[in-house]
């Protein structure tokens, strides 16, 4: 597989729609993911995440619209797309009477890997996923975490440039989740493009370069967490702790044009400020100039969970 000449987005959804009868599982969803970045796909259950991921992975057909992997249509060139894609579904079956190494060897052969290339990839995947000590263990006897590793290993076996991971952290213990976060960042730094869906929003915020929030099939917001937060929150809330003279500080802030709603909560001052970083810096500088002894000055940003709750309405379909 050559990686050379294509410079466009590695993943592209263009007005993608998928209807199941009257239900619009995916409704005109469009976004792009550039090479080497991690895109988090967030939404409640039944929002349309899995359906759009399955369309990308050539397992479903869209009602209308297009899905591209490395510029190739997953509808019209599925075989070429499959060679470039590693898909990890949220639920997957395994074979009886098969152990980990045989399972991975089978998929390596199925992806057309032969000879040294196959043994090299098998060794790499075994070590990368930490499955080597368990390689002769039957799959049915593996824990949930180990099965997830095995499935990730299967998705990586042919070294695809794009990974689509549907709820890879579901059911994992905290340590396994942290390890998964590290591995995803490591894969992204190796140039792999990753589309990942999860319900654990704090983790997504840490590992994703950009996110998309989807509900009832519609993409409600796309961008970096910061961009989405800023769009939702034109004014920023600031928390200030001063050494003394709280009333003087309140009076000072009340006189500032860009400051709104200054109040004291638990001996700390909170106020809203319109604008971005320059306005925030200007207020701090003005307070210092006015000889107000500032102990702490920090913006109180909404977490990804707050953003998610603000954007979605909790509708199900």
């Amino acid at each position: 597989m050559t990686k050379a000449t294509y410079n466009g987005p590695m993943i592209e959804l263009n007005c993608l729609c998928r209807n199941f009868g009257e239900t619009k599982a995916v409704d005109h969803v469009s976004f792009e993911v550039p090479r080497g970045s991690v895109f988090g796909y967030i939404g409640p259950n039944g929002a349309g995440k899995t359906t759009s991921m399955r369309i990308l992975s050539t397992l479903e057909l869209p009602t209308s619209g297009e899905a591209y992997i490395e510029g190739l249509s997953s509808v019209n060139d599925p075989d070429r797309v499959r060679a470039r894609l590693g898909f990890m579904p949220d639920a997957f079956g395994t074979y009886s009477d098969t152990n980990c190494i045989e399972y991975l060897d089978f998929f390596a052969r199925s992806y057309g890997l032969v000879g040294r290339e196959r043994t090299r990839r098998l060794r790499w995947v075994m070590d990368f996923t930490g499955l080597r000590p368990l390689m002769v263990k039957p799959i049915r006897g593996l824990s949930k975490g180990m099965r997830q590793r095995l499935c990730l290993g299967r998705a990586l076996i042919h070294d695809p440039p794009v990974l689509v991971l549907d709820e890879p952290a579901a059911g994992l213990d905290p340590r396994a989740r942290i390890e998964l976060r590290h591995i995803i960042r490591s894969l992204a730094s190796d140039g792999k493009t990753i589309l990942i869906s999860s319900h654990i929003l704090t983790e997504l915020a840490e590992m994703c370069d950009r996110i998309g929030i989807i509900e009832r099939g519609q993409l409600l917001a796309v961008g970096t967490v910061e961009e989405i937060r800023r769009n939702l929150q034109p004014s920023r809330e600031i928390l200030v702790r001063v050494a003394s003279a709280v009333d003087e500080a309140i009076a000072f802030l009340g006189a500032c044009v860009s400051v709104k709603d200054a109040r004291v909560i638990d001996s700390a001052i909170r106020f809203s400020i319109e604008g971005g970083d320059p306005e925030q810096i200007a207020i701090l500088r003005a307070m210092c100039d006015a000889k107000i002894e500032v102990l702490e000055y920090s913006p109180r940003d909404n977490s990804l969970e707050d953003v998610f709750l603000q954007i979605t309405k909790g509708h199900v379909q």
Binding site: M1, T2, A4, T5, Y6, S57, T58, L59, L61, G71, L72, S73, V75, N76, D77, P78, D79, R80, R82, L85, F87, P89, F92, G93, T94, Y95, S96, D97, T98, I101, E102, D105, F106, F107, R109, S110, Y111, G112, V114, G115, R116, T119, L122, R123, W124, M126, D127, F128, G130, R132, M135, V136, R149, L152, A176, E179, L180, H182, I183, S186
Partner: protein, 532 residues
């Protein structure tokens, strides 16, 4: 999981070791690797699984045990005559049944379960996104079934040799038994694979297993009757007649195997793929083989009856195939549109082979008419002398039924498909309803007009295909003649009505290959050239 990959020693599992060893073992290792490159991965996986499975182990050892028990019982019960009288045939009868049960029952059932489980348990989707095509998946399953057959057969080889040494059976007898058991077993396995793809849910799979069991029982009894009555009774003759017919009907069997495998792979292939063209070519080839077989039979015996039988089977075949083709989607994916014929001549000759219900209707009707009349015209080369309905008239009758029932089904399915969506269930249900209605309609009409159903066959019974065919095979040419022309005229009306609704599918044009695909192909070619 860690991104800091720690490379452990390589010699901890054979699958992680490169085949670079020296000496004889190294050579064996490298040769095995070379051979395994060309093997189907499904076959390798299934062989690994089967060798570990309890079901296989239990069946294999039970087979061995049963063959020993039968040998001991046979020897003891036939002693002391066994020393003087040729008694291999009696033991061989038991060994046939011992071999037939695992080969003709266990192997097809396990092939069915294997593919059905892939579809049912979610492992097929993981396979579908690899480089394996649906055909390779199905043929891998068939390969695994063949491997199991060989292992079971190997368990009984010493027993067959023992039978030969006891005399009473000769080599052609043993070879014919083995060949027949293998052929039926492969045919049943391919049919089992097709049934496994017919329904993709557990409730439906219970019905398919029941259907498969019924077919297995039927085939086992038919095969047993043939082997006990023909093979073991030394009824195999080295005559041209036997050789030619064995060859022709062997070809029919092989074409059925190919058709089942291709149909199973088409059932599980993505809908964007062209799932029809290959199947249509196979149908075309099957028709040619059938015509050759029946024409040879008719000319050899100078008899109209086998020719009429051949025409009837051909009419039924195209009715069923046409009905299934009506379940295809008229929407062609750009991937399929890229492969449409380029030239006008190509469009004229090959468009019938492209997917779609309209092209399918035309393909089934035109092929059916051509095939049936070809057989009909073959009969002009000889005179039967009996009072049997002439094959040409029979071809007219069957053509009428094909056009009438298939044309009416299409006219009804077209609006219904818009409401309920397209699938092969809809045309099957409509066709079944029409065939039933065709039987009942004349009787209902007679009851309404005269107060009682007709007891004598007349041309008004032409829609009642069962009665008409019964009359045709009962040496009653005259009423069948008028019924045949009535059926043909009605069929022609339905055919013409359908022609007006076909225009859309014939206006499809080939589309160009996307630039990105051309670019990728060029990159692949460059990398292959660099590797070379």
């Amino acid at each position: 999981m860690s991104s800091d990959v720690k490379i452990l020693p390589e010699n901890d599992h054979p699958l992680l070791v490169d085949t670079t060893g020296e000496g004889v073992w190294g050579w064996i290792d490298r040769t095995s690797e070379k051979i395994s490159k060309s093997l189907n991965p499904i076959l390798i996986k299934e062989a690994r699984q089967a060798l570990k499975s309890k079901q296989f182990a239990v069946t294999f050892f039970l087979l061995l045990l049963a063959s020993w028990v039968w040998m001991i019982l046979g020897v003891v019960s036939m002693a002391p005559d066994i020393y003087f009288v040729p008694s291999g045939k009696y033991l061989m009868t038991g060994y046939y049944f011992l071999l037939a049960i695992p080969m003709m029952a266990m192997v097809p059932l396990s092939a069915h379960r294997s593919l059905a489980a892939e579809l049912d348990e979610g492992t097929y989707e993981l396979l579908a996104i690899t480089k394996l095509s649906s055909l390779r998946i199905v043929s891998g399953k068939l390969g695994s079934a063949l491997l199991q057959m060989l292992v079971y057969f190997a368990a009984l080889v010493p027993s067959l040799t023992f039978c030969y040494l006891l005399r009473g059976v000769d080599m052609p007898m043993i070879a014919a038994t083995i060949a027949l058991v293998f052929a039926v077993s492969i045919l049943l396995s391919t049919f089992a694979l097709l049934l496994a793809t017919a329904v993709q849910n557990r409730a439906g799979q219970i019905f398919t297993v029941l259907a498969l069991l019924a077919v297995i029982l039927f085939s086992e009894s038919l095969c047993a009757a043939f082997i006990l009555g023909v093979v073991f009774e030394q009824q195999i003759y080295w005559e041209w007649e036997a050789i030619v017919f064995t060859f022709l009907f062997g070809l029919v069997t092989i074409s059925c195997m190919v058709m089942f495998v291709r149909a199973a792979s088409a059932r599980i292939a993505p809908v964007t793929e062209n799932r029809s063209t290959v199947l249509r070519w196979i149908m075309f080839a099957q028709q040619l083989i059938w015509i050759a077989s029946i024409a040879t039979l008719g000319l050899w015996y100078e008899d109209y009856e086998p020719v009429n039988f051949g025409i009837m089977i051909l009419g039924g075949y195209w009715l069923v195939m046409g009905m299934l083709m009506l379940g295809e989607s008229a929407e062609l994916s750009p991937r399929v549109l890229r492969t449409l014929p380029k030239t006008k001549f190509g469009r004229m000759m090959l468009l019938w082979f492209c997917p779609g219900p309209g092209t399918g209707f035309m393909f089934a009707t035109t092929s059916g008419i051509a095939g049936m009349f070809s057989l009909g015209f073959v009969s002009l080369a000889f005179s039967d002398g009996s009072n049997v309905v002439s094959p040409v008239l029979f071809a007219v009758l069957m053509t009428g039924y094909l056009l009438m029932y298939l044309g009416a089904t299409r006219l009804i399915v077209l609006p219904l498909a818009r409401r309920f969506g397209i699938s092969f269930v809809l045309p099957c249900s409509v066709m079944l309803g029409l065939l039933m209605l065709g039987i009942m309609f004349p009787s209902i009409l007679m009851v309404v007009t005269t107060g009682s159903p007709s007891t004598n066959y007349g041309s008004q019974e032409f829609t009642n295909w069962i009665w008409t065919l019964d009359e045709a095979f009962s040496y009653q040419p005259n009423p069948v003649l008028s019924a045949g022309f009535l059926a043909f005229t009605t069929g022609l009306v339905f055919f013409v009505l359908n022609l007006f609704l076909l225009i859309r599918e014939f206006s499809y044009r080939r589309v160009s290959v996307p630039q990105r695909v051309i670019q990728v192909e060029a990159e692949n070619e460059t990398s292959i050239a660099l590797d070379a």
